[in-house]
Symmetry: C2
Subunit: 274 residues, 2 copies
């Protein structure tokens, strides 16, 4: 299959690296010459282009790994091969997918995907095929999709190491993701920013603090877009969390050891079930 | 040095394993026969006892790895070798240390320590010398302490793989720990318990959710003791965190992308500084 990866950042780079040796013809589109040179030297792409127009119209699959705000513009400017599959990897779907579907031609199979594998780093060199191994993969299905193409996308993802894909509608995706992904980032950022910095914090941390703040190293442009484009669901998820934390706070204030234990036991049960 | 480890759970077990081959005579005290048999078979202890009285009075160092609520009772029942060092590894210090000092004889060097290396598992078999490697280590100094003995404890910890110890008073310890350790556990528990469970959550998580909930698998007896014995500092840390989260929530509500970005940039800067 002839594949174009548009945007050779950390996600596009991971795709390029994971696709190596899988028998496809992979091309890259990126504005950065150094990135293209490295990818070519590593043999993850055959050729790189500044402009999608120079390669995308010939490709059977185009994976767009750009910032959400840049994708619609890319879709407007680009003509895709009839019958080909075009995918984006944007972390929020409902507000975005309808706009995309208004732009792409009806003879193009638009399949929005969410590979749940990331890194707190930016750029092709941090792309890593290993992060796909055993990671969750979501395919967003819309009424115009062809069942067989969805099935092929699921197989494609498994071939790259992902777990069997979950297929869902954009609203359900955005609701669950507001909890599992966006709320966690809001928490990590708030945790590290709530440090009074009275002590030299780094000398007094264990793995728990390291784990909870790893994702506080965050791409501010990407995540502010993601947060604001999913605000209703995200605000709801934050509120649910605040209620639980406030319940625990009250138990501490009241020396209510039974409520604390009940919360800890429930948390342990849920974590083990994961 | 003749060393007694009292309580061969996950922390005591880690000490026993880390001490192996370091040239000490190590003994264990535990109520569980199987635990003692395993530790002897692994050669991490020379002999095990149900009762501390049978070995502790001969030891130069006693490391008490019991639940906070059991330690004072143990101190009351036990006679220590004059001039020997007695340590506890309790996660909160101010409310506890004064009580301990009232019990132990003045000719005993009581050094309260906090090895910041843990596991979300219980029991000797999960003890692991590797968790000490590069971990933080805190020594709580009180007016009765001998400087030279404190220095020896710091060397002892480094010999087990810890980073150079931080020496501080019990109040400062409890304040910083309420933030780096207890708040993180309160957050992890609240996060997983705030799941509406409308979806099969495990299929829609990435590393961020895994990281933030790892410690939600929590020992309810130990942590309810730790929370309630540090309630003033912990409530303050929770409040600081709530304020930051609420600031972010307001920014999302108001589509205030500048405040969001400002928070993300600050978080990234702080995380990188760790």
């Amino acid at each position: 299959m002839k594949i174009a990866i548009v945007g050779l950042g950390v996600v596009g780079g991971s795709f390029a690296k994971a696709l190596k040796g899988k028998g496809h013809e992979v091309y890259g589109v990126d504005i950065n010459d150094t990135t293209i040179a490295i990818a070519k030297a590593e043999g993850t792409i055959i050729e790189g282009y500044h402009n999608g127009k120079d390669i995308v119209p010939e490709c059977d699959l185009t994976i767009i790994c750009l910032y959400p705000s840049l994708i619609l513009d890319f879709l407007r400017k680009t003509t895709f091969k009839p019958g080909s599959v075009v995918s984006d990897v944007v972390g929020i779907k409902s507000s975005f997918l309808n706009k995309a579907l208004e732009i792409v031609a009806p003879d193009v199979e638009y399949i929005s995907i969410h590979p749940m594998a990331g890194k707190e780093k930016q750029g092709y060199i941090y792309g890593d095929a290993e992060v796909f191994r055993g990671a969750n993969f979501i395919i967003i299905q819309h009424p115009r999709n062809n069942e067989e193409k969805i099935r092929q996308m699921a197989l494609f993802a498994m071939d790259l190491g992902f777990r069997p894909a979950r297929i869902m509608n954009p609203e359900d995706h955005d609701e669950i993701i507001s909890y599992t992904s966006q709320l966690t980032h809001a928490i990590a950022v708030s945790l590290i920013n709530s440090d009074t910095q009275k002590y030299e914090t780094g000398k007094y941390i264990g793995d728990s603090f390291r784990d909870l703040t790893r994702i506080a190293n965050i791409n501010e442009n990407l995540w502010s877009e993601l947060f604001l484009n999913n605000k209703e669901y995200l605000l709801e998820s934050i509120t649910h969390f605040e209620e639980k934390l406030s319940e625990m706070k009250k138990a501490i204030m009241d020396d209510d050891i039974e409520t604390l234990k009940k919360n800890f036991i429930e948390a342990t049960k849920r974590r083990e079930a994961l």
